[in-house]
Amino acid sequence: MKKRGIGFASVFYGTGYGNGFPDISNAIAELGMDGKITIYVGATEVGQGAKTILSQIAAEVFSMSVEEIIFVCEDTSITPDAGTAAASRQTYNTGNAIKIAAENLREEMIDVAIERLGLNSRVGLAVKNGRIFLKTFPEKGISFEEIALLVGDQHLRRTGSFTAQTTQMDEDTGEGAPYWPYTFSVYGIEVEVDTSIGTIEVIRSVCAQDTGRTINPKLVEGQIDGGFAMGLGYAIYEDLNLQKGKIKHNRFTNYLIPTAEDMPEVEKIFIENPESTGPYGAKGIGEPVTLAVAPAILNAIYDAVGIRIKEIPVTPDKLLIALKEKEMEV
């Protein structure tokens, strides 16, 4: 018999290393001779989209397109340490560091522009599309290339550093401010349980994701879908099957992860509520997006068949045994 049920789960997730550990990101912004901006930063693109998100933040500072940003993150000898690509911290921490570096560079460029243009003040200046100009008289302006040419070999190059604020918790009570910011995520999931074979299919799913501010909607959607898949695997498939320390499921033939056929469509809702300490209000979402999936599935299974499965993954054999036990109780 096929039975359907709905389940919800909500979570929070504290960004960063936490607990007062110095959580530092460093970045360098440099004006190139071609008027493009190069960002040097030791932040890894693992597939999450760091290069794109962080380039967008730099581009925003200069009101220019992402194509004008050269992003260098691959070589430790020319990039400053930006911490690990983990703890959902790159958008928040390194995003801030890059924003600061880019703003420092922009101010420096404005200084050069003011001198060159013979202006008396910074008031009323705009920076846009590779130019610095007077808003009320745009002809009075200078391009980034010209600025680069003016400073010549000195190269305008500025650093930016951001250190997140957390405190160490009290050892006896756990009191303190261990993480910041917190990101929230809520899932609603409908499942269909086939009680004859113990399988679970996700019929419908909705995610409402707090992003602070969404830097790149498509990338956030991709994180939600990917986070859903990982949560689904965690809930109903994945187990290394350890036996005396030996991983029995050590190949894709027996360690099953979701395929395209296992994945449902996921309806996504972004909840924007800017975080004042985040770059343009943004928070990290890489981990939060996956956390509420498995518990929402478990709650949906209960709603469908009245069984609380307290051990994941909920494999068909486990579910069948539980269904049988319930039948015997009745």
Partner: protein, 420 residues
């Protein structure tokens, strides 16, 4: 503020290289005169070990076989330096690295691996964290197997439970799982003058650089890490795998050395998500306000600490779920066993606890005859809330909006009438 680039679905800047097959992952690197490395790994979970490489090193084409004797400083690890680069006397988990063969071809390297004679003198292992916590349990390292205990104490839970209208209890278990990123670990290292260059796919190149420099006892600036395209990570590329082996191999042979893990070796080599056992007791008053929560969380970190301390800390802090609860008592423990080591994986301790706290929420809601959405709305964090650690949530706390948005999208009608 009007934003021009932020908020736009700008096309991924690394996308073009990836859709054309031009993105370079470490397995895609080739150099002239390149040789191959292969790791010999322990087949036993807990044993004293001796290895004899005399036969293996005479195989034609074998250039060098690295053992612990070749490693200047044989320790590494993200928090505690409890990993050996190559095991010296004892193995603590299946898959622990024992030797690194460098040969002219991968095939010869494999043959040499098989020709290395390993003598295991097995020690009683411990595979269950509860067993490992007992005083007389086999010790995985020197000292207690319990490496961390996080305590959170707020209010008086026992007194609060007495006054609760409804109380639910449960024991929840999560499995040990793998990141299963699609790109198995690979790397290439070479000498550049008196520097060593290591090309790998890592989450944190500057930390790898530091760990390599420390193990080789070389100045930091003489180590360069090139982070290639990374084929997924999810926490599984936080800890060192082959980075130090490759750097050492390049240093001692003077040749570019490449290694690629098979999928099976990848499963053995990198960290896992901590399996946790979580006891929960949660109580609410007749209005549906959460009054007390007690949780005890045991995390199995396997043979090495990796990030266990931070993971179990994060689990402890997040154990309440995003709800205000006036009385909370949480204890979380990280425990060594002879299982594969656990470390960072997407969620980092906050992935496990919702399996407990969210089922507790539904169980309580049912007992109180309140629907799960309303019950969450009654208790969820909002601006001005205090977490169990006493942290004031002063801005950007849109959880209520998230819950309401999901309920609406699911056409969920609140059934509050039954509420007491």
């Amino acid at each position: 503020m009007k934003l021009e680039v932020v908020g736009k679905s700008v096309i991924r800047v690394d996308g073009l290289a990836k859709i054309t097959g031009k993105a370079i992952y470490p397995q895609d690197l080739f150099m002239d005169d390149m040789v191959f490395g292969k790791t010999l790994r322990s087949k036993k979970p807990h044993a004293h070990v001796k290895i004899d490489i005399s036969k293996a090193k005479t195989i034609p084409g074998v250039i060098k076989i690295l053992t612990y004797k070749d490693v200047p400083n044989n320790h590494h690890g993200v928090l505690l330096k409890d990993h050996e680069v190559l095991c010296s006397k004892k193995v603590r988990a299946i898959g622990d690295p024992l030797a690194f063969v460098i040969a002219v071809t991968e095939k010869i390297a494999k043959r040499a691996i098989e020709a290395i004679e390993v003598t295991y003198e097995e020690i009683k292992g411990v595979f269950d964290p509860f067993e490992a916590m007992k005083e007389d349990a086999p010790k995985v390292h020197d000292g207690s197997n319990i490496i961390y205990h996080y305590k959170l104490r707020k209010g008086d839970v026992e007194a609060a439970f007495e006054k609760c209208h409804a109380v639910v209890e449960g024991e929840y278990k999560t499995s040990m799982v793998d990141h299963a990123f699609l790109q198995p670990e690979a790397g290439l290292a070479y000498k550049d003058g008196d520097s060593i260059v290591v090309c790998v796919a890592t989450q944190y190149p500057h930390f790898d650089q530091l760990e390599i420099a420390e193990a080789l006892i070389m100045p930091l600036e003489k180590i360069k890490v090139i982070n290639t395209a990374v084929g997924g990570a999810f926490g599984g590329r936080e800890d060192i795998t082959m980075q130090i082996h490759l750097a050492l191999a390049a240093m001692l042979t003077g040749k570019p050395v490449k290694t690629i893990y098979s999928r099976e070796e990848s499963f053995e080599a990198h960290s896992k998500r901590h399996p946790m056992t979580m006891y929960y007791k949660t109580g609410a008053n007749s209005e549906g306000k959460l009054m007390a929560m007690k949780a005890k969380i045991i995390g199995d970190t396997g043979a090495y600490a990796s990030w266990a301390i931070n993971v179990l800390r994060k689990a402890g802090v997040h154990a309440t779920g995003p709800y205000e609860i006036p009385n909370v008592k949480i204890d979380s423990y990280a425990v060594y066993t002879n299982n594969p080591f656990a470390g960072a994986m997407r969620g980092f301790g906050a992935a496990q606890v919702p399996i407990g706290h969210e089922q507790q929420m539904d169980m309580l809601a049912e007992k109180l005859a309140i629907d799960p959405i309303t019950f969450r709305l009654i208790n969820c964090f909002t601006v001005g809330s205090k977490t169990a650690t006493g942290q004031v949530l002063e801005e950007s706390i849109p959880l209520q909006n998230c819950i309401e948005a999901v309920a609406e999208a699911m056409n969920f009608s609140k059934k509050t009438e039954g509420a007491v």
